[in-house]
Amino acid sequence: MSMNAATNDPEIRSTLFNRMLDRYSPLVVILVALFAVVFVYGMVTAPNFLTVFNFKTIIRDAALVGIMGIGLTFVTLSGNFFLLSMKETAALSIIAFAIAMSNGYGFELAFLFTMCVAVIAGMLQGALIGLGGNPIVVTLGAAGLFFGIASWWSDNLVVSFRRPHGAEWLGSGSFLGLPNITIAFILIAITAEIVLRYTSFGRQVYLIGANRAAGRATGHENFSMAIKTCTIASVCSAFVAIAFSAQVSSAHVNYFSSEFGSSGDMTILVIATVMVAGNSIMGGYGSTLRTSLGAIFISTVDNMMVLHGFNSGPRVLAVGLMIVFSIIVFALVRRGSRVQE
């Protein structure tokens, strides 16, 4: 149907609205329904589920993974796939931070130092990807590099620093009854969404992600984009590492591999967070808001399983199932919304 004909047809106008409904409604319905099922099930079966304390726990648990997920979302949306080095970047950062702290440099300097390390790590990966390196290969290599440096640097030992220290407010402080890390999560989520929606950088992320060749043709090079987005992801990893270290007053390279949270591997969990809310794995479509909600959703399911006494095996399985399920649902929804003229 030609465009000119379309203008004169009142039916077409309503179609725009219908199409939006078509696109979003099944997605929203399914997610809300799933959330409701989990919620009601949790409420009925676990008496502790529906308490303010437990909700704070859920969001708090979602915070660390969520912040890293938001950082990674920039990379994914820009069409540069995933960084498989998220947890190793965090490992390198946590060691850098703890060593600086244990040497008595104070929170501010240690924070700055760690961020510098993270920026270098991010830019290095971004430059290699921007030059045409495959993101998977580059970041697998980088992962080995960062992990190696971190365990060499720390002699594979726990690096601890004595309380009281200047980072305690970030690790265990709270404001208006909310843990500071939760507040940081909320602030970062809002900032990221604003950046994506309202800045020209955010627009470039979407354009390059949607079609890299067309992005280049219209003056948006992926080289600088890859560097920028990888640096954002890396800095988010470092922030999470610092917050975690501040909480336990120590660091070890394996904190994000085995001891962290429920689902074992941090990188997989972060990727799950990005995927579960339907961000396009090819880039160009999605938002950090989705990632934030994805983190809370995973955290809710996980929390409920903890309350029911499941150990880590079934909980990892649940995360896996959520990813598979969401990929299928979103693929179907996307395909259904494609209307050809």
């Binding site: 030609s2 465009m3 179609t15 020209s200 043709a217």
Partner: protein, 500 residues
């Protein structure tokens, strides 16, 4: 005689969009039926229904006298309806013979390469590839030859109906001729062929009858010799098309806007020099492989060159990325809008503003109002429906996509606009609009450089032409020297190698 294939009052809607509002279509055994219409008239939808890609329609579909409803293309193919689509489905790293028997019908379970080669021979002969060795890789063939291999692959299944969906859209003159020869050869052997094309000259050359679709409705099929180009266009548009090509201007004595000096991109045998004047439409004429498109890409910063400089607005430089070219006010549109001309999954509005994010933002913050204003003004100039600016560019038809791909460059107010194949896969209506728009831009002082393999377009649109043949610049033709015969001679046989 009974029609081999007959569709009666077929309707198909997608949501509230009625793609087909009642289409009758038939084809006789051994007939070549042309299927024409503007972009979005419903040709693709109809072809998808016939070939089994889409069975969500209402209405009757009879094949060989029986009522059918194919739930997949494989089932349609088994019944004897094969389709060669615009996008090739060959595997480039495999040999011609292997590609022909890819689907595995009629092939013994264990077949060695030599046997496949022998089996492939007759099908290649049938499509006119008798000089091609079936053992060589498909990637060593020209695009036109690849299209012929694709058809050979379909013929191997011995279909009764063959659908060719714009087989010549991406081909140069000589490859197109091979396709047309093949069509007439196959129809003589009794195959029914549905030929979909925007190239009206081809339609008249090879079809027996023509079915016109307009706004999702079919017109009574006409025999080709009762129509001429004008009456066919009128049927397609539902109105008379006053002018296809806007009036041209002879060269003025203005100073050149840009001097291209010793530019030598890949695809050219030697460096070229030429001048671009403000207010003119310059045409680079040549067949596929002539190197004319590469010149545009090189000026636009999209392709690296061995040497060369552009003298332009008081400086001498050569952009090495499109970004640098854009900054200098040079806009370049490649021949493949889906590859690098459009962000199909993003809204039309974002496509239109994509080259000039800087102009609609301050300190990195985009102004939504400025973007709307920009997008609306471009939409108005290029007759893009302003109420659909928030829709994804991917839902548009080819002609409208091309308008968006071209129109987005207005946002940088370019001084030089380089367009490779401005109207590939674009219907007559949108085509005329694009020509007029290019002329308007030239009149406003910009310089337009168009590279095209479409002989009708390159003869009638530009004010001046430079011809290319196999990587060599052949000559320059001023307005009064422009004729299809001269141009054809220069781009196909400038050195009198063939005696015609």
């Amino acid at each position: 005689m009974q029609p081999l294939l007959k569709l009666s009052s077929v309707k198909r809607s997608f949501g509230a969009i009625h793609a087909l509002k009642g289409v009758d279509f038939e084809i006789m055994p051994g007939e070549v039926m042309g299927l024409v219409g503007e972009n979005g008239a419903g040709k693709s939808t109809l072809v998808k229904i016939i070939s089994g890609f889409d069975n969500g329609y209402s209405g009757e579909y009879r094949f060989n006298g029986e009522s059918v409803n194919f739930s997949s293309p494989a089932k349609a193919e088994l019944a004897g309806i094969a389709i060669a689509q615009q996008e090739l489905s060959l595997i480039p790293t495999m040999s011609v013979a292997e590609n022909i028997f890819l689907a595995g019908h009629n092939v013994p379970t264990i077949a060695d390469k030599r046997r496949l080669v022998k089996m492939a021979r007759p099908f290649l002969d049938e499509v006119g590839l008798d000089t091609i060795n079936p053992a060589i890789g498909v990637d060593r063939l020209s695009v036109g030859e690849q299209h012929l291999v694709e058809v050979a692959r379909l013929i191997a299944h011995d279909p009764q109906v063959l659908i060719l969906d714009e087989p010549t859209a991406a081909l140069g003159e000589s490859d197109s001729i091979r396709i047309l020869d093949m069509v007439s050869r196959l129809s003589k052997k009794g195959k029914s062929i549905i030929y979909v094309s925007h190239r009206l000259d081809e339609i008249f050359k090879i079809t027996d009858r023509i079915t016109v679709l307009r706004d999702g409705e079919s017109q009574e099929p006409r025999t080709a010799d009762t129509l001429d180009v004008n009456s066919l266009v009128e049927l397609m548009l539902g109105r008379e098309l006053d002018i296809m090509f806007p009036e041209r201007r002879p060269k003025t004595d203005a100073e050149p806007l840009m001097r291209v000096e010793q530019l030598w991109p890949d695809g050219l045998l030697e460096p070229v020099d030429f001048e671009i004047y403000p207010g003119e439409i310059l045409g680079l004429a040549g067949q596929l492989g002539s190197g004319s498109g590469e010149i545009l890409a090189a000026i636009g910063g999209a392709q690296l060159t061995r040497s060369g400089k552009l003298s332009y607005s008081g400086r001498s430089f050569l952009p090495s990325t499109p970004k640098q070219a854009i900054r200098a006010g040079i806009a370049y549109c490649s021949e493949d809008r889906k590859l690098d001309g459009l962000f199909l999954g993003r809204p039309i509005k974002e496509n239109l503003s994509s080259p000039s994010l800087g102009a609609i933002s301050r300190l990195g913050w985009m102004s939504s109002a400025a973007e709307w204003k920009l997008a609306t003004s471009i939409a108005e100039k290029f007759t893009i429906d302003a109420s659909r600016l928030s829709a994804e560019a991917g839902v548009l038809s080819g002609g409208n996509q091309q308008k968006v791909a071209l129109g987005k460059w207005l946002s940088i107010e370019p001084k030089i606009i380089l367009v490779n194949e401005p109207t590939r896969g674009v219907d007559v209506g949108a085509r005329a609009e694009i020509y007029q728009k290019l002329r308007d831009l030239a009149d406003s002082g910009a310089a337009i450089v168009v590279a095209s393999t479409d002989i009708q377009e390159i003869t009638n649109l530009p004010d001046r032409i430079i011809t290319f043949y196999r990587g060599l610049k052949i000559g320059e033709l001023a307005l009064q020297e422009l004729s299809a015969a001269t141009i054809l001679k220069q781009i196909t046989d400038p050195f009198n190698e063939t005696n015609l």
